[in-house]
Symmetry: C2
Subunit: 479 residues, 2 copies
């Protein structure tokens, strides 16, 4: 290892030494984020923003394909509007940032910087909805929201984060429930296919559900260190908000009715999930679907005649089918290798005078560093194939990691022993009583991640109280 490369790699804490510090190092050194002068707020730098824009593009297309339309709601919400639905405001009140001055004058009513926008959507619908013919209204918005968190960490928990929030209203409860399910499946499919993160789909317990929701569904991922991360949620509200905000429509029978509502969201947190699911001690490893550059071209012996010209020719050719970067800087090839490994570019293409003689180049996968010599005539097939193989491999490795760190337990002692010695998902049966859920937290430090749709029968009784079990729960320590 040359000195430059060593210096760069040494600058990252190893995962084994301190996973949390490794994570922070990657966020900063791969130039994804910067801390700002506002405590708990982050800056998305070009590389982080480019990843987010790729996520946005894929999700936005998926949402539009199922009939959703984008809108933009105000960033500020009057306190009286926020308070109309009691559970929601109780859930969010401790984390709201309040605007109390407009210019030099105190406001008559304080305004919340939006923590979530159910209230604004309901307010709007109360103006524009008239007839069942206008239903469903399938809306989404891309924006940032503010929640006054105590402790923060880039992407995972910050006082401002970027997200999409889908909000829909429907004529019937069944249609709203179907929407909730459809959007959860959309998230799961995106997480698994595009982010290469296997997820557990399930329903949140009442304790963990969204403030004001009748039901919250979730996809839960497992990070490399065995900890859990909630990847996205989809909520069913029934007609609770419609009633609180007086959203009505004339039904098929010409009588006034309340529509049934959903909301669903995915956030910049998913970038954190990508980092912690796939990254290694050399840095980030990006799934091809969201990588700002899918291929980086590094010329070797770039001063030799024709090398830079060939590299530029390849860049132009490749740009027809992949996102490609040619690193034409003065740095050494070794430095460039480390730099682009740090940034997680899925494939590196090396081209030098010897390769040119043989009409070939070297393709190196970021994940396993496997080198392939490829004829320059075959790049159009070889590159997409290698990118797909890398994506499949990322998914399979994450799945293996999850399977290796998922444990079944039958007694509270087993749970406590596992929680003390292992990091991962712990599956148990559960009676459904929140007291037992709280006991799991107090005695084993675990929170319920979800009641998976794919249930297993691990026994007949709840390990906490011995009463009959109703469902299987996945527990974990969460980011």
């Amino acid at each position: 290892m040359n000195t430059e490369k060593k210096k760069l790699v040494e600058a990252i804490t190893s995962q084994e030494e301190d996973f949390v510090q490794w994570y922070t190092d990657i966020c900063l050194k791969a130039e994804m984020v910067d801390y700002s002068s506002v405590k708990g707020f982050m800056v998305l730098r070009p590389y982080g923003q480019a990843i987010w824009e790729n996520i946005q593009a894929i999700l936005d297309k998926r949402f539009k394909a199922t009939g959703h339309e984008n809108v933009a709601m105000p960033v500020l919400i009057p306190e009286s509007l926020l308070k109309k639905e009691g559970e929601l405001v109780n859930g969010f009140a401790p984390e709201v940032a309040w605007v109390t001055m407009g210019g030099s004058e105190p406001l008559e009513e304080r305004l919340a910087v939006r923590p979530t926008s159910e209230t604004m959507f309901c307010d709007h619908w109360s103006h524009v909805l008239h007839s069942y013919r206008e239903l469903p209204m399938l809306y989404n918005q891309w924006c940032s929201v503010v929640r006054w968190e105590k402790t923060t960490r880039p992407f995972l928990r910050s006082r401002e984060f970027w997200w999409q929030e889908g909000h829909t209203i429907h004529e019937t409860a069944a249609e709203a429930e179907a929407e909730t399910e459809q959007q959860l499946n959309c998230y799961a499919d995106f997480a698994e296919k595009d982010l290469c993160i296997p997820v557990v789909k399930g329903r949140k317990t009442d304790k963990e559900k969204f403030a004001g929701a009748e039901a919250t569904y979730t996809i839960e991922g497992m990070m490399k260190d065995g900890k859990s991360l909630q990847c996205a949620t989809s909520h069913y509200f029934g007609d609770k908000f419609s009633r609180a905000y007086d959203v009505t429509f004339a039904g098929r029978d010409n009588k006034l009715q309340y529509p049934f509502q959903t909301s669903w969201g995915m956030t910049t947190r998913m970038i954190g999930a990508v980092i912690m699911t796939h990254g290694d001690d050399s840095g980030l490893i990006l799934p091809p679907a969201i990588a700002p550059y899918q291929v980086v071209i590094v010329p070797v012996a770039a001063h030799k005649p024709g090398v830079m010209e060939k590299a530029e020719e390849l860049r132009q050719r490749l740009s027809a089918f992949v996102r490609v970067k040619l690193d034409a800087s003065d740095n050494s090839p070794g430095w460039k290798f480390s730099q682009w490994e740090m940034k997680g570019v899925p494939l590196r293409l090396e081209i030098g005078p010897k390769d040119m003689e043989k009409n070939q180049c070297v393709l190196v996968r970021r994940d396993n560093r496997e080198k392939t010599f490829v004829s320059l005539d075959e790049l159009e097939t070889a590159i997409p194939r290698l990118l797909q193989e890398l994506a499949d491999s990322l998914y399979q490795n994450a799945l293996k990691n999850r399977e290796a760190h998922t444990y079944a337990a039958h007694t509270l002692d087993e749970v406590k022993e596992l929680s003390a010695t292992k990091s991962g998902f712990i599956k148990t049966m559960w009676c459904g009583d929140v007291a037992c859920e709280e006991k799991m937290k107090a005695e084993a430090g675990l929170s319920s991640r979800c009641m998976p749709f794919e249930q297993e029968n691990l026994g007949e009784v709840c390990p906490c109280c011995g009463r009959p079990a109703k469902t299987m729960v996945v527990w974990g320590k969460a980011y």
Copy 2:
């Protein structure tokens, strides 16, 4: 005119009767915006948001083609950070919304909801900039900003608006000045080619320039009623902010230097400009480049065998090269015609049993209602041609309107006479003294729009004071 159509059209105030009310009617009835429960804040409904997304897509591509990268900065700015550059904070202080509470606790320092982000960009650059090798940094962000305006109107002036703000730093003043000019030209080209709005390029007077800028450049449009609208601005800051925020880099001589800075922005206001430049008494007329639907298909005698199938077949075929909507609703063709005219769809395609017999359809331009019978075999050439003709025509008509309402004046009496009897641009020479600029406001109700790059010599003296003239100014009454 059938009754339904009449009802819809009558619901819009005519331009002649009350241009301002006509404008508001269009904004609401074309379903672009809704008022919200927060005074002065608007909701972008799907149709308005879709127009904005088309604007975003075109501009974003242009910005990226010239090397700009997107980032995301925090929505809140500490007061102390905002105050480091005195002119900026003095300019914006009266319009800032202040966050003073986080959760249930008062903040130690109040935070501004961003009115503009020069300060955050400088703060970030002070962390990450080290060497001249990293320059230029060419950043942009898409977001909303908040300014506490007294009187508001959809798109034109609201307490929150959506925009892009470009922020760049450069090694030399010359490079920063070139960037300012490049971006102004980018805006002018976009306004003229994509929005079909002719603009006057020029420099703002010191009185009208951006708070803290050394120079502000602008593109100014004229609306149908002769009033002016500032369409976009591009600012040159020199190293004023760099010095205030301690942004430095090691130069080629290895000494610390301050970079030179620019910023430039275009906002949702441009949707207002489009409405007021092209619209008529039947509603909106959208330039094809930003129209959510470029063609609407209206089946005639839709109950007759094969009509709906043919319409759907055409929709699929057209979707390969235009944004197309098939109106398959139960409403009458007449109602649909009015509805989509109101929404400004550039071309209407009518297809009925008689047309099908002749293997043809009718294409109707929104702007002049010209009907063309087109063979179904020729749609791939006819539609793009008609869209281009419509765009050219929109631009030419707007240019004619501007030329017909641009007046030269040589004395203050002439200016006052013109201002009292005509609506439009008034060109005069000017001595450069702010006292004369203020006199034009006080006595003729005019503000300086810009000192156009294309100067004319209208005389030797300033009409206000009789002293030698330095430049020609375009004056107007502005939205």
